[in-house]
Symmetry: C2
Amino acid sequence: MTERADSLPALQRIQTLPSWVLGRVATRGRGLVAAAIAHEGAKMWHHAVLAAVSEYGPIAQAELGRRISLDPKDLVGVLNDLQAEGYVVREPDPRDRRKNAVTVTPEGEAMLARCAAAAERANDELLAPLSPAERERLMGLLRRIGAEELEQRA
Amino acid sequence: MTERADSLPALQRIQTLPSWVLGRVATRGRGLVAAAIAHEGAKMWHHAVLAAVSEYGPIAQAELGRRISLDPKDLVGVLNDLQAEGYVVREPDPRDRRKNAVTVTPEGEAMLARCAAAAERANDELLAPLSPAERERLMGLLRRIGAEELEQRA
DNA sequence: CGGATTCGTTGGTGGTCCCAACGATAGAGG
DNA sequence: CCTCTATCGTTGGGACCACCAACGAATCCG
């Protein structure tokens, strides 16, 4: 397989592993974004859920969870927070009384805009060492790997 | 800032964020590696600590934690596990009685070799969609971002 | 009409990362 | 020598993320 790596010292052999470097960079990115939107009073999933609700209008929780790959259990907590802050409304769906129709409020849209701006600023900081062209190449490569993931599910 | 993203629908605007894609890919990578070395009976940090101990011979725990950026608290647990399995030995350092001199056993070296092979196999699977040249380019870009992280600490 | 499925919710587990405090030991300065 | 400071290993705790099991209620399907 990878005979080139066998000559490296043990620790470097791990620290040069794609999974290792990916993990470190991703952790840093998550931290930067978390700090940025924490300044707005939200967490990563609050932002993501808010965005999904905003885009897909009145939507049931189960469907919501599938869109962003979030566990239904965790979604409950996030929606509770968002609803308590008045960013989101849960209403019973008259056409299917099992479902909750989730909707964004104007305050939620404003919050979403602030979070999105903060998240994009954090990402600019994360990718600061890279030129725009390099960022595009990086994203292209990452998307190829991420696409593989989606095919596995199908 | 990034005026191109403002035209995207809310959810896509998040899901195309480098931090988002990085997080997804990193999570998948971590999962693949974790599953691979779990088959050997170890976890990610067991593998990393084993490698660091192997490379840096008799080494104190604090120094060990600094090398791999692992919290001393978590290191205690990992070393307890490794020692219980006979992969590692903790001996008092006669030159500084605060320190533990940590050493790998032959069984530990064998375990390390198995874990390293498994981790590299998992990484091959993760990067399967990419050609060797593309993998090099990806790692180069990631290293540039990771390097930034190290400078911030200095 | 009855069985299977979906919905929201509650409960719990494990992993990663980080911080605070403690007794014990070592080193530096007076 | 002796205090002051720092480091070492350890314990305890917390926050966030990812994931799974089970439950009553409601719906769908055969």
